[in-house]
């Protein structure tokens, strides 16, 4: 398979334009710059706006976590949502790890004779 089609298969836009590369370079700079700026800003007006934003984001987080989707949003505190988020992310990480274990064992144990095992092998490896 020629390298060009391989990379397009992966779908990563290899930026041919030099300007595009500069833009993504600068966008990472802007992100870190703006986070530095917002940390030093202490005005009360800005904090009032960000309180509403935070409440909205927290309620959206609550919708994503399966255990908390059904509870009413006004009864749940932000710290509880954050705690459940952390637990959920940890459980997802653990599941990815377990699934990789399982898949690597499956591929190890497949009998090289059977046709279906060969199909799985060729698909994944």
């Amino acid at each position: 398979m020629p390298k060009g089609t391989f990379i397009t298969l992966i779908g990563i836009r290899v930026s041919k334009n030099h300007r595009e590369r500069k833009k993504s370079f600068e966008s990472t700079k802007n992100v870190t710059m703006s986070s530095r700026r917002s940390r030093s800003r202490q005005s009360p007006g800005a904090s009032r706006i960000s309180d509403d934003q935070i409440a909205d984001l927290v309620s959206r987080l609550q919708q994503l976590i399966p255990e908390m989707r059904n509870r009413r949003s006004d009864k749940v505190s932000a710290s509880k949502v954050l705690q459940e988020t952390c637990n959920y992310i940890r459980s997802l990480h653990r599941e990815v790890d377990d699934l990789s274990d399982r898949l690597s064992e499956l591929l190890e144990s497949t009998d090289s004779d059977s046709a279906q095992a060969a199909i799985i092998r060729s698909l994944l490896m």
Binding site: I7, L9, I10, G11, I12, R13, V14, S15, R21, S24, F25, T28, K29, V31, T32, S35, R36, S38, R39, S50, Q53, I54, L57, V58, R60, L61, L64, S77, A78, S79, L82, Q83, T85, C86, I89, R90, L92, H93, E95, V96, L99, S100, D101, R102, L103, S104, E105, L106, L107, E108, S109, T110, D111, S114, Q116, A117, I120, L123, L124, M125
Partner: protein, 194 residues
Amino acid sequence: MKARMQNSSSSALLKQEFLKKWINGLQTYTNTKKEMTILDRKNAIKLSADIAIASTRNFSTNWSRAVMADVSKNVDGSSKIVTEKILGRKETCIIKCSKNIMRKSRLLAHRKRAIRRTIGRTSVKAASAIAKELVKKRTRVLKRLVPGGKQMNEICLIKETLDYIASLQVQVDVMRNIANAADQCLDSTERSLL
């Protein structure tokens, strides 16, 4: 109802994209490394899955950039060749540049935090202050869990968490389906051999 249908079709597209990239990564791995132990294979599967799910975001989110930066920092030897092949040389250059920027901002933040700590600590604790402390504690834990979270402010962190959780769900779903399908395949072949 419409929103849910749109959501499911877009997540199906995401799953397909992730699956394609993941399989491509795995095939690149096996083409470069002929013999692998179980542990090698497990790391290959996990690494390709992480790269694949991060690249579905096309570098538009902080966590995906942080994942790529970590991957290109931590891999060694032959794995480095594989990741460079998958990512492409120009993208790894971008990652290296953004890594330097992040390193500098991390040093600056470290210095700021050290100064803030030396400026007095109040010992009065109202209920609201306790609640705020709890939220701060949990935010600190979340910052550790989300890749690249250490440099973000609160709002950015929660936005990134939303996207990160959605992508993790896609990753887990696809991997689980493949593992179950492979299990079923093996079961049926074992039964036919008996």
